[in-house]
Amino acid sequence: MILLRALGLMLVFLMASLLPSNAAEADLRAIIAKFATGTGFSAIEAVVRELAATGDPLVERPLAALAEGNLYIRKADSMVFVGNEAGDSVSLLDPLSGEKTGDAAKTDITKIKVNNTLRRVIRDALGTLTLRAKDPSVRIAAADTMFKTPDAANIEPLDAAIAAETDAKVKALFEQARAASVLVSDKPEADKLAAVALIGARGDRDALSLLTAVEANAQGAVKDAATAAIASINSSLALWDAGQNIWYGISLGSVLLLAAIGLAITFGVMGVINMAHGEMVMLGAYTTFVVQQVIRTSFPGLFDWSLVIALPLAFLVAASVGLIIERGVIRFLYGRPLETLLATWGVSLVLQQAVRSIFGPTNQEVGNPSWMSGSFDVGQLAVTWNRLWILVFALTVFGVLLYVMKRTPWGLQMRAVTANRRMAASMGIRTPWVDALTFALGSGIAGIAGVALSQIDNVSPNLGRGYIIDSFMVVVFGGVGNLWGTLVGAFSLGIVNKVLEPYAGAVLGKIVVLVLIILFIQKRPRGLFALKGRAVEA
C-alpha cells in the first residue's frame, strides 16, 4: 500500500516534471495527493487548509467537489479524482483541470468522507477564494460566509475586493464582512466603533449573532456600542416577528382554505357530511406523485411543469371518484346525516386501504419544482416560495369557484337545488344530475388541493386524515353554505393559531383554538356568516 502511494506520488511528480511551465500546479497536485494518505477528518482538514493557503483559484474545483462529497481516491494507485456518479460507475475527472480521465466502478474507488465541521472549513476557504468570481451570486455567497466567520486575516483580501468591486450591492456586503473581521482583529477602537455601526445598520439575525459575540468579548466603548446596536436590532426584529406571525397565519389559512374549499361545496352547499373528503385530497396528491413518476422516467425536462400537468388530472381523478361515490352511495342517503356520515367514513377507509395496497404504506416522494423551492427575504422576513404559491393558488381556486357558483347557469342550478329542491325540479332542473355534478365538483376541488398539499406534506395513505377535522372546523366556523364564510373562517383560524403558537406552543395553541371555536359555536351556532331565510329552516 505504501509502495502504491509512493508510486502515486511519483506519478504526480512525473507529470509535474513533464509540465515544467506550471510548477505551481505541480505543487497543488502534491498537496491534493495528500488526501489519499491522510486518515481521519483532522488530516483531511489539514490538507484543505494547506490547499486554501496557496490562494490559487485552481483549488476551487477540488475543494468544492470535496464539500459536495464528490472527491474520490482510486484504490489501485491512490490517485485523487473528482467523480461524477452515473449509475454503478463513476466518471473520473482530473481534480485541477476538470478533464475526464476515465471511468471506474464504485467498488474500485473510495469517497473521501466529509462532516459538517469540514464542510464549514471548506466553505470558509472557498469564501476567500471566490471573492473575485465572475458571478455576483457567488461573490454574495462569499461575502455571506466571511461575514459569518470573521477572521482578521480576511481584511486584506476584502480590502482588495472592495476596491475592485463595481456592483454596489455586493460592495456593501463586502464592507459588512470586512467590518465583521475588523471586530475580531487588533485594529484601533475607532475602526471597531465604525464596524459596529455598519453591522448594526445591517439589522438582521446574523448581525445580531455577531454583535452578541462581540458584546461578550469586547470592553469599553466597543462593548457599549454593541449593546446599543443589539437593543436597536432587537426592537426592529420584534416588529418583524409580529409581521412574520401574521404571514405564517395567512399561509396556514391558505392551506386550511384549500383543504376546506371542496368541503364547503359538498358539506356547505349540499349538506352531505362527507368524511371521505380528506381521501379526495389524498387522491389528488397521489395523482401528482404518479405524474411526477412518469415525468421522471420519460420526460425529465418537464419536471418543473409537473404540478401544472397534475392539476387537471387530479381534478378529473378526484371528480370521477366523487361522482362514483355520489351515484353509488350518497344519493340513497340524502336527508339521513348519520347514515351518510358512517357510509362516507367507510368509503374513506376503503380508499385509504386501496391506496395502501397499490402504492404501499410508505411515504411517496413528491419533489418540489425549482420555482417552489427556497425562499426570499422581504426585509427581515423570510418568505418561502412554496407557501407563497399555495396562497396565490388557494385564492385563485376560491375566485374561480365563486365565479362558477355565482355567474354560470350550472352554479345557478346548483344554488336553486340547494335552496328549494322541489321547486327547482318543477322548473325542469334535473336535480339528481345537479347533485352528482356538484358532489363531483367538490371532490375535484379537493383533488387539486391535494396537488398543492403534496408540496408541503407527506404523500401517504394517511394524508387526508390530517385535514378532515380542520376542514370541518373551517366550514362550520365560517358558516355552512357560504363560500365567503369559508374564506374568512380559514384565514382567521390560521392567523389566530399562528399568533398563539410562539407564546403557547403548538400543542396548547391548537387546544386554545378548539376551545375558542366551541365557545363561538355556542354563541353563534350557524357560524360567522349564517345563511338567512326560509331555506335554512327547510
Binding site: 404504506p361 411515504n363 416522494e365 407527506n458 406552543g505 400543542v507
Partner: protein, 436 residues
Amino acid sequence: MRGNFSTITKMFSAGVVAAGLSMSSPAKAAEDTIKVGILHSLSGTMAISETTLKDAMLMLIEEQNAKGGLLGKKLEAVVVDPASNWPLFAEKARELISKDKVAAVFGCWTSVSRKSVLPVFSELDNILFYPVQYEGEESERNVFYTGAAPNQQAIPAVDYLMSEDGGSVKRWVLEGTDYVYPRTTNKILEAYLKAKGVAAEDIMVNYTPFGFSDWQTEVSAIKKFGSAGKKTAVVSTVNGDANVPFYKELGNQGIKAEDIPVMAFSVGEEELAGLDTAPLVGHLAAWNYFESVDTPENKKFIADWHKFIKNDKRTTNDPMEAHYIGFNMWVKAVEKAGTTDPDKVIDAMVGVSVPNLTGGYSTMMPNHHITKPVLIGEIQADGQFETVSQTPGLVMGDEWSDYLPDSKDLISDWRAPLSCGNFNVATGKCGGKGTN
C-alpha cells in the same frame, strides 16, 4: 368533536380489520409447527412504519425454515393487525397467545402500544420482542428490548455534537412530538446537558402534536434561537410523518447543516425515502444500524430483503436489524433450552450472543436489553446515511437512566436469585418506580 371522530375511526377500523383478518389468518395449525406471533399494525397511522417489520419477520421465518426450521419443526408465522389502535394491541396479543398458542411474539412500535400489551404478556407468560428505540425506564421479565435505550442513542448523539468533530455545540434545541418517548428522552437529555455544564438558557424545549405539518413558526424560532452567537444544534425526537414537512421547511428556510445541524432519533432510511434529500445533506441521525454499513452480513441481508420483497428500492432500517438480532437470539435460546416453553426460553436468553449487521456481536444482558454499537450518520443526497462517527465498542442498554433522580438508583437483573426489573440499590428492595 375530535374525540368522537377518532373513537368512531377506531371502532370502524378495528371492526373492519378484525373481520378481514380472522378470515385470512392461517387456520391450518398443524401439530408439528412452532408458531411465531407478529403484532404489527398493517393499517392506520402506524402502518407506514410497522408493515415493513411484518415483512422483515416473514422473511426471517422463511429463511429459518429454509435452514431446516427449529428443533426439527417448521416455524409458522401468525400475523395479526392491531390497526394502530392501542387497546386492540392488547386484545390481539391475547388472541395470539391464548388462541393461536404462539411461542413468542415480535411486535409493537410505539411505547403506548407496548405499555398496553405488557399486562397481557405477564399474565399469560409469553415473550415479546420489542424492536424500536424507546425512552427506557422499564424492564419486564417477559419483554426483550432489542431497540436502543436512551444511552444507546440519545446520549452518544449529544456527546458527538459536543465533540470537536460534531462542531462543539453550545446551545441546544430539543424538538419533539408530544408523547411519552420524546418527553422522557428530553428529560434525560436536559439532565445530562445540565450535568455537562450547559446553562438553562442555552436549552430550548418545544413539542408539537402528532402529524404536525405547519412548521414555519417552529423553524423560525430555531433560527432565532441559533442567532445568539453560539454554535447551536437541534436534537429532534419528532416522530413519523411530521418529519417530512419539518425537513422541507428547514430546507426552504435555508437552515444548513453546517450552521444548525439537526440530530434526529426517529428518522431512518424509510422516512427519507419520501423526501428530496439534497437540501438536507449533513443533517444527522443516531442509530445502531444504517443501510449503508459496509459489512458482508449487511450486504447479504439487503440482498435477501430485496429478493423477498421483490423490489430493489425498498430500504432497510434500524428496527429491522433489531428484529434480525432478536429473532436470531430467540432461535438460539430455543435451541439452547431445547424447548419453546417461554419460562425456559426467558432463562436461556440472557447471555445469548448473535452477530449483528454492523460487523460485531450483540449479547442479551440480564436487564433484557442488548449490547449494540452506536453510529452517527449524515444524510446523503441519495437518501442514505454515511457513518461519520461510531462508538469504539459496544454500548450496553441502560434501562433505568442514571440522569433522572427517580431512576438513578434502580437496576434490573432477571437472573436468579435477584429476578427483579426494578431493584433499588439504595434501599436494597425490589419494586422501585421510574419516571413514567
